[in-house]
């Protein structure tokens, strides 16, 4: 059968490459993925770079430079379905920590000739600039979830990617709650699941790598942290990390800033 396979493109904005690597890391499934799609553009994997339009575009990274802005607008035009992958693309990433500071001050300190640096004041998610069809969370993303999204697209079904709290996955695994039994700060109750409760499975509170869950009550969690004996500085810091600029986490860290 000569059915034309959908064309897949993988793009990178400002990021560490970890999320797009998770596609190559899917060794056991990669051949099946390639059986279903044509890898049309993926510079990290292949020097064969086909021109658009593409059927699916995966975008990693946040928008931090004027060039990123131009690129993402072109990518949107080139892709029928645009999926952003990872904390940078969906929430601005760890580099969004600069959003609370003066970027020009940073460039002066870091670079000998800051006049050559062209950057935006803030690191923002792709969805701040163009319409995004689907967001896959995580820092980094879970490769099985990425395959699930591609799989669902190929089989024309809804991806099984729940948006509830990490707590549900802890309970499905039989983990004992580290907040209730060990007095640890844990972002699990307000964090989007996807990592299969990785940190609590090793007796450590959740850092919130997958960003806010579908209905995060961050202020109730923060007041519990206070009751457990943690100070505002600790609370600001735990909310301000990989997904610190995601709205619910940003507001809570700002509420505990002073």
């Amino acid at each position: 059968m000569a059915i034309k396979k959908p064309k897949l493109a993988v793009f990178k904005m400002s990021s560490c490459d970890g999320c797009q690597l998770s596609l190559l890391d899917a060794e056991d499934e990669l051949l099946d993925v390639l059986g279903g799609v044509e890898l049309a553009y993926f510079p990290e994997a292949s020097s064969k770079m086909m021109k658009g339009p593409y059927d699916i575009g995966l975008v990693e990274g946040s928008i931090t430079t004027p060039r990123n802005v131009e690129e993402i607008r072109q990518i949107r035009k080139d892709c029928k379905i645009l999926i952003t992958i990872g904390a940078c693309a969906t929430a601005g990433g760890i580099q969004a920590l600069r959003n609370w500071k003066d970027t020009r001050e940073f460039t002066k300190i870091v670079y000998a000739s800051p006049e050559y640096i062209s950057t935006l004041d803030r690191s923002l998610p792709v969805s701040s600039f163009v319409h995004v069809d689907y967001e896959l969370r995580g820092c980094p993303i879970n490769k099985y979830q990425l395959i699930e999204v591609l799989n669902a697209f190929l089989n024309r079904r809804k991806p099984n990617i729940p948006s509830y709290s990490v707590c549900i996955d802890c309970k499905l695994k039989g983990n004992v709650c580290v907040m209730t039994s060990q007095n640890q700060m844990c972002l699990g109750p307000v964090t989007h699941t996807g990592c299969n409760a990785l940190c609590p499975s090793y007796n450590r509170g959740c850092f919130g790598c997958y960003g806010p869950m579908d209905s995060p009550n961050t202020s109730a969690l923060a007041s519990q942290f206070k009751q457990m004996g943690y100070g505002k500085f600790d609370i600001m810091n735990i909310f301000r990390s990989y997904n610190g600029y995601a709205e619910a986490f940003r507001k809570e860290s700002e509420a505990n800033e002073k």
């Binding site: 707590c167 695994k173 709650c177 907040m179 209730t180 209905s215």
Partner: protein
């Protein structure tokens, strides 16, 4: 009634294993008592008890060798009867059609050692949910029909227990094969044994037991009474259905929602909550598909997502739904309350929301409608 010593309790585990039971009992894992497979009484939490309050759980060393002085932990027995994740069936494409294959031919044979009275009640409640004639759940019933139940009566109450109010404990009255009450007096350490079924009597006949004398029976009764007398929490259940039905629009729901994380911990630890989600998966080729059942919760937003929208978007609506179902509409649906007073939802709520207090607050509020 008989008495049994520790040596014969060990023997009991051995006999059950010989009869091909997988023996499940309390074990310590990551600072809590959980239920898992055991080989010997050495696996039991000897000399430990639990301290529980709203949003708080710690294990504490005792100064004796009690095996069953903990109360209940974060898990319940439902994970064995109603597993967290279960493949229901799979299908494989064949030509223009497909073949459906059943994935669950295995019928595990469990012996539950240490099931508490409230937990046993929770199993009866889940029986009504899953073993209800026309809509009987074969996966549940295939496991349920084989279990051998050794109940252990509580001799302590945790800070979050309220089984007395719910009339579910602390002593198991029926539904067990064997029931034990642990007695530790001065230098004596024994278990008063009751037989609740023919199978229980048959297994007990293989053990070396003595007839319990009056003093021993009284000591066991006093130990259970101790749990009852030390139970601090209560829930007034008089007219609770009307209380909840009449106060659907009470401001209390918004107050609770301001604290509720909608994280679903309460429903996951609850021994009677039975909600699940069905997921269909495919492999990349689309030639193989599987249908999975996974625990879900009325607190997750997607749970109430239907074609056209979501009918419980606010956390207020979700908490109200949970509590009203658990304490009121459950009675209309199954003829019994959905709450057994085990206190898990109070202990394991990360922010310590206490449903007994919320019921009390609703009862005492001047804005409450009493019809």
């Amino acid at each position: 009634m008989k008495t049994l010593d520790k040596i014969n309790l060990e023997k009991l585990i051995g006999i059950l294993k010989q009869e091909n039971y997988t023996v499940i009992g309390p074990v310590i894992k990551d600072g809590a008592v959980v239920y898992d497979e055991i080989d010997s009484i050495k696996d039991l939490p000897e000399g430990w008890e639990d301290e529980q309050e709203a949003g708080y759980y710690r294990l504490k060393k005792r100064n004796d060798n009690a095996l069953f002085s903990y109360v209940v932990g974060p898990q319940s027995w439902k994970k064995f009867l109603f597993p967290q994740k279960l493949k229901l069936w799979q299908a494989v494409r064949e030509g223009r059609g497909f073949n459906i294959e059943n994935s669950n031919s295995a019928e595990p044979k469990y012996a539950f050692l240490g099931i508490r009275s409230c937990e046993l009640k929770a199993v009866f409640i889940q029986d009504k949910v899953f073993d209800n004639g026309m809509f009987a759940d074969s996966y549940y019933n295939n496991i349920r029909k084989n279990i051998f139940i050794i109940s252990v009566n509580c001799t302590r109450a945790a800070g979050t227990c309220f089984c007395v109010s719910m009339k579910t404990g602390p002593k198991a009255k029926n539904g067990f094969d064997l029931a034990l009450t642990e007695v530790i007096n001065n230098n004596e350490h024994y278990f008063v044994l009751e037989q609740g079924s023919e199978k229980g009597t048959e297994i007990a006949s293989k053990l070396e037991t003595n007839d319990a004398d009056d003093k021993q029976i009284k000591a066991a009764e006093a130990a259970v009474k101790n749990a009852e007398l030390n139970m601090k929490r209560t829930m007034n259940t008089a007219g609770i259905k009307e209380l909840l039905y009449n106060n659907h629009d009470h401001p209390i729901w918004s107050q609770i929602a301001s604290r509720c994380l909608s994280c679903a911990n309460c429903t996951m630890v609850c021994p009677t909550c039975f909600c699940s989600n069905i997921e269909d998966t495919t492999d990349l080729t689309g030639n193989h598909t599987e249908r999975w059942r996974r625990w879900d919760s009325c607190f997750s937003l997607d749970y109430s997502k239907v074609a056209g929208g979501n009918f419980r978007t606010s956390v207020k609506a979700r908490y109200r739904q949970w509590m009203t179902h658990k304490l009121a509409s459950w009675i209309d649906q199954f003829g019994i309350s959905g709450c057994v007073g085990c206190g898990r939802c109070i202990t394991w709520c990360p922010v310590g929301i206490d449903l007994t207090k919320e019921v009390e607050n609703l009862r005492n509020s001047p804005k409450t409608i009493n019809k």
